[in-house]
């Protein structure tokens, strides 16, 4: 029987394993050193905040894996012998495979700051990081978070629930402005501040200072300011977790290079999820997309290929979501943070600054390109259709109500939004 081995039990690896099982009787082994069972990484924060217990993070009950004949192995892969098709574990054990799927995920970035390896300096990606955070926040009064992205704002929310003061250093002039258009970004910045976070725009980390026990005691910013703290959160993005594959015959760049079938340069070796880097990404997509949804879709696609139905990875319209403290964010299609010539934005914001939408369109044709919504839920299928049908912005605004996904009895803002668009029409 063919043995398909998957390294990594995150959403990409596990989705792949599940879909292989749907179509085939192959022997499946999933290897992880992080946790015995698949868990939802996106929900780590809720365990720290006391919303959930560890068990709630597991999307499948423990009996599921045996029932579906997916073997789980908790082990650390030191080295892969691609010629012999053998995995070498840190325990000196070995395992042979017929096909290998690399789904090793991400690790957080460290940019060579002075003091980045002190105690109390950490990122938040893995289960071990969460355990470390529990330890590091004992006796913690103030934390400094570096980097204004999704993990940064989540970490800020987590620490605030433990009454830890948070100083949040971000490089941009507003939160996540490398992804969000300025007005959206500014609204979120204000919201973060309103939660008592000391948010510093256009501020970067210079170095981290430790005490005599090599534990962090302060940071120095690029303006020379010194901030006392007992925890430093490194949230300046993630990179593919592929260090153990360097210096092998596997072709890598930032991530593991794969073709459109998600295959690496070595036969029978594939890579999916955060660790994979597409050699030729589709239009409007990045070569590495470290998001849950991309991992899941790659897992589904590769499972088809591995079970005899070769299929290219062709993700559809871009979508994503997040939550910044109390404000939910959804996006469909393409909304650039800094739009160029061929993209124009219509922005509406509610007076209480808890809701906003930004619609991107092509100025000449009025073609709808994408939407960001903050504090208003929208229907994914509706926007997916409109994007596929190349609808114009007029159509989108006139039919916006169809796309609303807020709970029943919520106040609707479509009329207000439509009116605001008409009034601002001459500006465009």
């Amino acid at each position: 029987m063919e043995h398909i081995t998957i390294i990594g039990n995150g959403i990409a690896g596990i989705t792949c394993a599940r879909h292989i099982r749907k179509n085939s009787d192959a022997k499946i082994t999933v290897i992880s050193a992080e946790s015995e069972y698949f868990f939802s990484r996106t929900a780590l924060m809720y365990v720290y905040m006391g919303h959930m217990k560890w068990n709630h993070l597991k999307p499948y009950e423990d009996w599921f894996w045996e029932k579906n004949r997916i073997k789980l192995k908790k082990a650390w892969v030191d080295k892969i012998d691609f010629k012999e098709k053998t995995l070498h574990f840190s325990s000196e054990e070995t395992m042979d495979y017929d096909k290998l799927v690399l789904a090793t995920g991400s690790v957080y970035n460290k940019f060579g700051w002075e003091g980045q390896d002190l105690k109390g300096v950490q990122g938040l990606v893995s289960k071990q990081d969460l355990e470390l955070l529990e330890e590091n926040t004992q006796n913690c009064k103030r934390a400094v978070i570096i980097g204004g992205g999704l993990i940064g704002v989540e970490l800020a929310e987590m620490l605030k629930t433990r009454n830890i003061d948070v100083t949040f250093l971000i490089r941009e002039e507003a939160f996540w402005h490398n992804m969000l258009p300025l007005q959206d970004a500014k609204m979120i910045s204000e919201h973060i501040k309103s939660h008592g976070v000391d948010l510093r725009h256009e501020t970067e980390l210079d170095k981290i200072i430790g005490d005599e026990n090599r534990r962090v005691k302060s940071v120095i910013t690029n303006s020379g300011e010194k901030i006392e703290c007992q925890l430093v959160g490194l949230c300046t993005g993630v990179r593919p977790n592929i260090d153990f594959l360097k210096n092998s015959e596997l072709e890598t760049d930032k991530g593991i290079l794969v073709d459109e079938f998600l295959q690496t340069n070595i036969e029978d070796v594939y890579a999916i999820g955060d660790c994979a880097q597409l050699k030729q990404p589709p239009a409007h997509r990045r070569p590495i997309e470290a998001v849950w949804y991309a991992g899941r879709m790659m897992g589904e696609t590769l499972a088809q290929t591995l079970t005899g139905n070769a299929m290219k990875y062709k993700p559809g319209n871009w979508f994503n979501s997040a939550k910044f403290f109390d404000i939910e964010y959804q996006t469909y299609g393409q909304v650039s943070a800094k739009p160029g010539e061929n993209e124009m934005h219509f922005h509406w914001q509610h007076q209480d600054n808890s809701k906003a939408i930004t619609i991107a369109f092509e100025p000449n044709s009025n073609k709808f390109l994408g939407i960001n919504t903050l504090g208003i839920r929208m229907r994914h299928p509706v926007f997916d259709h409109w994007l596929n049908e190349d609808r114009k912005i007029d159509h989108v605004l006139a039919n916006l109500k169809q796309a609303n996904f807020d709970p029943e009895f919520y106040t609707h803002y479509e009329k207000e939004i439509f009116k605001s668009f008409k009034e601002n029409l001459q500006k465009f």
Binding site: N55, E134, C140, R296, M297, Q304, P315, G316, D326, D384
Partner: protein
């Protein structure tokens, strides 16, 4: 896991910690409770009106101050910080103390009301007598243990309803729904029946529908209705219309939520006072299996009991009353068989294997028992006399299950144990919701991140995530439509809706975001 699940911060304060105001508020509330305890210990208060008002007032004030301090002045939004860290809501020491106290209270209430001060002959003493002034004011009679219970129950729904509204004040669905349960409890369940008594009419709560109200069609109640003249007949007729006409129509349009989380008193208590315990429900597939067998068995039990009681109540001769024993019996058997046939003919495909076996098994057993007893001519229809079945049902289901286990165990098993495993009304509505209703919880394309907030905070123990992460709508008979899964979802994935029947149950994987070919293929394979 202990490392992850225990807050170890020493100076970074635990979210579980109470503020000074909250401690003070708890003190005020406990003082109010303490007056009740003193009354229970037979302290004879001189001015009962004053002390009763003081007691209930302090309890209400304590809760309101506590809730205000907890939620006002903070951002609107989800407030579950530290729920699993707190002893009271995380199955800790205080949870057990509260659970045991509540359980003891129910045991005394049901079986030893004399300890509460209820005296069969002579004036009330103890805590019951403390409530006499209020009872006199409303119904004109002295209080009973049930009046004490009803008052405290209503007070709990009102004050914890207030707390709930503050907690979910970002969500209009929750606000309106909570006002609804508060209204129905205060008006329909508490005031109307008491006022009817004052007017010398039968005790009747129009919102308490058979089979939840298992006494509605028993001999003593029917006699009471019939002797009350026109108004009694209207009550009886409304009782019949409620279950056979109103319930099916409303459930078709809105799902069972119109009753379970908008009207019902049991649901009302679970949604308000029970809200801090909603996450304790068991989400395993095993629990779901038990739930289906137990709840439908209770439904069969109450149906059998009611048939038996009515059978022994009715006469033999058509001259006395058109509905005779025989006509009723064969009419009921015919109705049940017809209902069964309709479900099997039209909805067979939507039933799981065990549901089919269960339904067939129960129908055969009931019809056989009726047949045997009818032919033996022993006057009973289920081996035992109707009143005896009713007594057992009242003890096992009415008292032990819905009261002692249902509410007493809130802090251990969660707030909806009775509604999920026991309530026969929920079983009727649930069957209809699953098979003949426009209600569903829609999943938003491919946006689910499997975080598990929805499943954790589902008081009915539905593994909502299992559906959401596959892009499947949630159509489950147990769903009471409380809307909390949708509220706690951080990515805007879930929405309670009444919509067309077409495409309501989509067991296909419709995760958007993938290329269309792949979705077609995945769906073909799953068919």
């Amino acid at each position: 896991m202990s490392k992850l699940e225990h807050n170890m911060s020493l100076t970074g304060e635990a979210p579980a910690k109470l503020s000074t105001t909250q401690k003070l508020a708890s003190g005020i509330g406990l003082l109010g409770l303490f007056i009740l305890v003193l009354a229970l210990a037979n302290v004879n208060f001189p001015n009962k009106t004053l002390f009763l008002s003081l007691s209930l007032g302090l309890i209400a004030m304590g809760t309101v101050i506590f809730a205000n301090d907890l939620y006002l002045g903070k951002h609107e939004g989800i407030k579950n910080d530290g729920v699993w860290f707190k002893s009271l809501t995380g199955r800790g020491f205080w949870a057990w103390i509260l659970g045991i106290t509540l359980t003891l209270f129910y045991i005394v209430l049901y079986w030893y009301p004399q300890y509460l001060g209820l005296n069969a002959d002579g004036a009330n003493t103890g805590i019951v007598s403390l409530f006499d002034p209020l009872s006199h004011l409303i119904s004109g009679n002295p209080a009973s243990q049930w009046f004490v219970y009803g008052t405290l129950y209503t007070l709990a729904i009102l004050i914890f309803g207030y707390k709930f509204i503050l907690k979910y004040r970002n969500n209009r669905y929750e606000i309106i729904r909570t006002f609804s349960v508060m209204f129905f409890q205060l008006g329909f369940a508490f005031l109307i029946p008491e006022i009817l008594i004052r007017l010398n009419q039968p005790y009747y709560n129009p919102a308490n529908i058979w089979p939840l109200n298992y006494d509605l069609f028993t001999d003593y109640k029917i006699n009471e209705f019939l002797s009350a003249g026109n108004i009694g007949v209207i009550m009886l007729a409304f009782g019949l219309i409620s279950i056979f006409v109103i319930t099916p129509i409303l459930t078709y349009k809105y799902g069972k939520r119109w009753y379970c989380s908008w009207v019902c008193g049991c649901g009302g208590l679970a949604e308000t006072a029970g809200d801090p315990y909603r996450h304790l429900s068991n989400k395993s597939q095993y629990a779901w299996k038990i739930e289906r067998w137990v709840i439908h068995s209770v439904l069969v039990f109450v149906t059998v009991m009611t048939i038996a009681v009515l059978y022994s109540f009715l006469g033999d001769s058509a001259n006395d009353f058109w509905l005779t024993k025989d006509l009723f019996l064969w009419g009921t058997a015919g109705f049940l068989t017809l209902l069964f046939a309709v479900i099997m003919i039209f909805k067979r495909k939507e039933l799981a294997k065990d549901a089919k076996y269960g339904a067939i098994g129960y129908l055969v057993i009931i019809l056989t028992i009726i047949g045997i007893n009818y032919l033996s001519g022993n006057g009973n229809i289920f081996f035992f006399a109707g009143y005896q079945l009713r007594e057992w049902y009242g003890f096992l289901i009415g008292a032990v299950f819905s009261g002692v286990i249902g509410v007493g165990f809130y802090p251990i098993f969660g707030s909806r144990v009775w509604c999920r495993y026991g309530c026969p009304m929920a079983a009727v509505l649930g069957m209809q919701q699953r098979l003949f209703s426009k209600f569903r919880i829609t999943t938003n394309g491919g946006q689910c991140i499997s975080c598990g907030n929805c499943s954790t905070y589902c008081e009915m123990g539905i593994d909502v995530r299992a559906y959401a992460q596959r892009g499947e709508n949630i159509v489950r008979s147990s769903c009471v439509g409380c809307g909390i899964c949708s509220a706690v979802c951080p990515r805007g994935v879930l929405k309670l809706e009444n919509d067309n029947l077409g495409g309501r149950i989509n067991s296909e994987e419709v995760l958007l975001g993938n290329d269309v070919d792949l979705m077609d293929l995945v769906n073909q394979k799953s068919k």
